[in-house]
Symmetry: D2
C-alpha cells in the first residue's frame, strides 16, 4: 500500500531533504507540496537537484485536499506551525519538524520561544519524536514533534547515561559544533559564504540556546529530578553535521558498556570501538549517528562524542523514521542510504 | 538472482563509492574487496562512513576465488590494472575504472600514458564505457573500460553536436572545473586542504591532460575525420563535481534541439530549459548529468555547460550502470538516489 | 604630510578593505566613515576584525565636513554613487569604486545598467582607474572611476596583446572564475554558505555581464575599431580571487614577449615563467596580479591566465593605488603586503 | 640599523609566514633561508605567493655563514631542532619555533615527545616565548622557545585567571577548535581537502595532546601547585585559526575584570565587551588575539573564549614579536597588519 504524503513548507532545506528521502521510500508517494510564497513554482525551479523527480507543483496550504493525505510533514517555522496544525483535520497524522510541540510545558515554551503557545491542548497530546526512545508512543501517535537537531545529538550522547545513573548529573558540559544548514535557508549576514567559510565562533553562549528547553525537559524527566546541562553551540564552515563533545564525570568503561547495552539493537546508532573519535564526515547525508567514548587522563572523567547529520538524523530523516513507525512501515524504510564521503 | 561482486582496489575513493552504490542495489552482493597494502583491515576502518554495512574484510587479489564472482570492478591505478586484468579468468565480466582500456590504439596509449601497453589484445576487445552511447556493445561485453571523468563530461556536452554536424569541429574549447576527488586519495601537496581551499588554478595546461586521448579517439570516430579540441582543466576547492563550460560555434537553438532529441529517453541526462546554467551543486552524489545551452551575444556562438559528479556519473556510478547492462539488470538499479543538497 | 581621508559606504567589503589597507599607509588618516543605515555604530561593531584600529564612528554622509577631507573614496552602490558624487564639493578629489563613472558613453551606461545617467558631464570628466594604463591621467584627475574587478583581470590579460596586435581580435574568449566577495555583502540566496560551498556554476551567461561594457569600451579604444569579447563568469566557493582563463589565437612566444615588455617596470604585475599557471592562492589579500602564458597543442593558439584578488587589486587596492597617484604619494604606499597563504 | 636574519626550515608554513611578516619589518633583512631537501630552489618556486620579494635562494644549513647573522629563526621539526641548535654558534640569538625547548623538565619532554632530550643544558637556558608573560626574560634571552599554538591560545585564556586565583583550578576544560595549517605541510591522509573539508572531528582525545606538557608546566608554576587541565582539540575545515572555548568555575564578572586589568596595556590582546563571542574570522592573518567572557545560566560558571591565528600569533608572529624584544626593536614592528576579512 502506498501512503499519500503532504509536505508543508517544502521550499526550505528540511522540506527538500524529506523529498530526497521519500523518493527512495518503497511505499510513499508525495501528493502535495506547499510553499506559500513560492506557490505556483515547481520544485525543480526551487531545488534543481530534485528536477529528475515527478512532483506536484508547489501550492498554498489552503489548496490542499487533506482528505487525500495519509500523513503530513510540517516543515514550517515555529509559531506558524502551531497555527497551521491547529487548523488541520483532527484525524490527520502529522509529523511536525518545528519547535512548536517539543515542549510539554506551556511556560517553558513561552520562556524559550518568547510567545505564548496558542494550541496548548495539542502541545500536551504531541509525542516527542526521538524515535529510539519514544518508539512505542510514536507508533500510536497522531502528532509527533520532531526534536531540535542539537537536542537530538546531545540526547543520543547522554540519555542512556542519565537513565543508568553512571554520570554526575550536576556537571555535564555539551560543546556542540554545528553546520550552517541547521539555520535554514534564511538570509542572514553571518550565513553568507564570505562571512562563514574559513572561520568559526560560538553563538547563543551562556545558556541561551532554545534547545536547552528540550534538554531540561527530557533529562529531568529521565533523572526524576531537575537536570541542567551547560551547552555552548559553535557555528562551523560546513553545510551538514553536528558534532557534540560531551564532558562528563563518571567511569568511561562503565559509560561505554551502558551505551553498548542501550544501543545494541539500534540500526541507526553506531557505537565506535572504545577510544575512537567519530567525525561528521562519516555520517553526512545519512540517518546514522556515530558515538565514541574515551577516558581522560584525569581520573573519573570521560568524553562522549556524537556525530550526526543535522538535516537527516537530526531532522528530516528522523521525521521519516517517525512516519514509518506511525504508518506501520519498516522503521528503516527509505533511510538506509550510506553517508556521502568524500 | 543476486550477483556476486568483487571490487579490486577498494581502498580508494572510487572503490568506496562503488560500495556506497551497490549497497542500495537490489540484486548485488559484494563478496570480495581487495586492497593490497591494507589487506587484513576492515572497510569500516579504512572508510568509517561504510561501517554500518556488512562487508568482507579487505584482502589481497591473490586471495580471491574468482570462480565465485560474477562481475569484478577493477578500481586500480592504470598500468597496474592491465597487469591484474590480464591474469584474471578469461570468462569473468570486468568493469575497469582505470585508464588502461579506454584507448583502442596502443600508440595513443603510449603517447598519453608514457608506457607501452602490455595487454594489447584486451585493449582491442574492451568496450568504451560511456553507457548512453555504447549501450548495446556494453550489454554483450566481457570487459568494459570506464571513461575518464573529465572525458565523460566533455562527451556528454559534445557527442550529439558532433554527430549531428551542428558545430564547427575546428574550434571547440573545453574549459573544465574539477573537484579534488578526481585526483584520488593520493598524498600530494597540492591536494592538501591548506593548499587547495580558498583558491583555484588551471593545471595540465596547453593540451597535455591525458583525457585528451579519449576526446581525440571518440570525437574523430564520430566525425569520421580528425577532431582536436582545446581542453584546459582547473582544480577547484570542492570534493565532487565537474563543470564543463564548452565554447562552440554553431546555432544555439539548433544545438538545443539536437540535445533534446539525443537525450529524450535518457534517465540520467537532464537537459535544462534553454538559457539555464547547470551547477555541480545539483548533481552531487548522484548519477545525473545536467546540461545547459545558451547563445552568446556574439552571433553564431553558443555555450554548452555540463555538470556531473566525477565519482558517481563520472566514475563509479557509470561503472555500476555498465555492470547493470552487462548483467541484464535494470540499467538504473542502485543509481536513482537524488543528489545531496545542500 | 598626512592626507585626510573619507570613505563613503564603509560598511561593505570594499570599505572594510580600504580601512585595512589605509591602516598601513604612512601618510593617510581616516577622518570620516559613512554608512547611512549603520550610522552611529562603530566600525569595530560592523567589522570586528578592525577593532584594534582607532577610527571615527560611522556617520551619515550629510554629517561629514568635506572641507576637512583631502580625498574621498566612494564605495557606494552604482546609481547612488552618481547622486552622491554630484553633490560633493567640486574641488574634492574622489576615487569612486562603483560602476557609475567607468563608461564614457551615456548610452552604453544605460544599456548595461538599465537607468539613464544623471551626471553626464562628470561621466565625461572621470578617468578610468586602471592604474597601470592610465597612470598619467590619474595623477592629474579629480575624479577617478575604479574598474570592475572582472574587467580589471581581463584587461591585465589582454590590453598589451591588443595594443601590440599579436592576437586575433575577433576570437577572444574569457572564462572567468570569481570568488563570492565580488558580489558584496548582499543577502542573496546563492551567496549563502549552504548554497555556494562545495559547488560551482556559470552566471550571467551569454554575454550579459555588465563588465562587458568596460571590455567593449577599452578594447575598442585600444584597437581603434570595435572589439567584442566572449565573456562567461563562474561563481566559485572561495571568498577572494579572480582567475581569468583567456583563450586567444596568436603566437604564444610573441604574446609572452609582449607581456614581458609591457610589464617590465610594473611592481604589481608578475609575469610567471613561460608555461606556468598562476593561482588565486598566491595573490590572496594582496595587490599583486600574476600572469601566465602557455601555448596549446593546437598550433596558433595560446592561453593567458591572470589571477588577482578582487577586493584588493580588483577594487580597494586599485583605489588606493590611484589615490596615491592623485596625492603625489609613492604609488605602492600601503600596498606592498605579501599575499596570505595558506 | 638593519638586522640580518636567517630562517632555518623555510619551506614549511611557519617559515613562509615569517618571510611574509619580516618583509614588512622596517629593520630586518633576510640573508639566509635553509631547506635541506629543497636546497637550490628559489622561495618563489616553493611559495609562489612570495615571488615579488627579493630573497636568497634556499640552501642547506651547512652553507650558512652564521657570523653574518644577527638572529636566527629555527622552524624545523622537533628533535631535528635540538640537534641543529646545539651546533649553532653559542652567541647567536635564536628563536626556535619547534617544541624542543618549551619544556624545562627533561622527563616531561621525554614523556610527551617520546625521545630523550639531547641538549638538556640548553633546555634549561631557553626562555618560554609567550611574549606577553615573559617579556623581560625574552629581552635578555639568547634562546627563546616559541610556544605551541594551542598552548598559546589556552594560556591567553587562562593565565591571568590562575594568577589571580579567580577560578577553580581543578575543573578547567579546554575545548579547542583548530585549523589545519597547525599540522604543517605534511602529507597525511586526514589533511587532504577531500578528507577534511565539510566535516570535523576531535583528535588526540583523552588528554594525549603534546601541548598538555606546556599547560602543565606553566599553569602549575603560576599556581604554585600542580594544575591539570582537560584538553580536547578538534580539527576543522579551515586553514588558519584556533578557537579555545574554556569552561571554568568562577565569577564571570570577576573574571572579566581580571582580564581587563591584565591586558589593559597589551597591544595584541583585545578583550571584547562582556558577553561577546570572538571569532577566528576576525583575527585571520594577524597577530591579534580576541578574548571574550560570558557567564552561563548555571551560577558560578563562566565561559572564556579566545581566538587567534595559529600561524601568526600562535607561531611566526609570536616569534617575530620575540625577536623584536631580543633585538631592542619596537615590539610591534612588522606585526600591526589588520586581519584579512573576508
Amino acid at each position: 500500500m502506498t501512503h499519500k504524503i503532504a509536505i508543508l513548507g517544502a521550499s526550505g532545506y528540511t522540506g527538500a531533504e524529506l523529498v530526497r528521502l521519500i523518493d527512495q521510500h518503497p511505499n510513499m508517494e508525495i501528493t502535495a507540496l506547499s510553499a506559500e510564497r513560492k506557490a505556483g513554482r515547481t520544485m525543480a525551479d526551487v531545488f534543481p537537484h530534485l528536477r529528475h523527480i515527478s512532483l506536484p507543483t508547489l501550492c498554498k496550504i489552503s489548496e490542499i485536499d487533506f482528505s487525500q493525505v495519509d500523513l503530513c510533514f510540517c516543515a514550517l517555522p515555529h509559531k506558524t506551525s502551531q497555527e497551521v496544525i491547529s487548523a488541520l483535520p483532527k484525524n490527520l497524522k502529522i509529523v511536525d519538524l518545528s519547535a512548536d510541540f517539543r515542549l510539554r510545558d506551556p511556560e517553558a515554551y513561552e520562556h524559550w520561544y518568547g510567545n505564548p503557545h496558542t494550541a496548548v491542548e495539542m502541545q500536551e497530546e504531541a509525542v516527542y519524536g526521538l524515535s529510539e526512545f519514544y518508539r512505542n508512543d510514536i507508533k500510536s501517535a497522531r502528532l509527533v514533534a520532531g526534536t531540535g537537531c542539537n537536542a537530538a545529538t546531545g540526547q543520543f550522547a547522554l540519555r542512556p547515561l542519565i537513565s543508568a545513573g553512571v554520570i554526575d548529573l550536576d556537571d555535564i558540559i555539551l560543546d556542540l559544533k554545528c553546520a550552517v544548514s541547521g539555520a535554514g535557508r534564511a538570509l542572514k549576514e553571518n550565513l553568507l559564504h564570505a562571512e562563514l567559510s574559513e572561520g568559526y565562533n560560538a553563538y547563543a553562549i551562556g545558556g541561551t540556546h532554545r534547545h536547552l528547553g528540550e534538554f531540561d525537559q527530557e533529562f529531568s524527566k529521565l533523572a526524576g529530578r531537575p537536570v541542567k546541562v551547560q551547552f555552548t553551540p559553535h557555528l562551523l564552515p560546513a553545510n551538514r553535521g553536528i558534532l557534540a563533545t560531551v564532558y562528563v564525570k563518571g567511569d568511561a568503561e562503565k559509560i561505554y558498556q551502558t551505551f553498548a547495552a542501550a544501543y545494541a539493537d539500534e540500526t541507526f546508532i553506531e557505537l565506535l570501538p572504545f577510544g575512537d573519535a567519530p567525525s561528521t564526515h562519516h555520517v553526512r547525508g545519512s540517518n546514522f549517528c556515530h558515538i565514541g567514548v574515551t577516558s581522560d587522563r584525569i581520573a573519573g572523567r570521560a568524553i562522549v562524542i556524537a556525530a550526526l547529520d543535522n538535516l537527516t538524523k537530526g531532522s528530516s530523516g528522523q521525521a521519516l523514521q517517525n512516519a514509518n513507525l506511525m504508518l506501520g512501515e519498516e522503521e528503516t524504510a527509505g533511510l538506509m542510504m550510506a553517508p556521502l564521503f568524500p
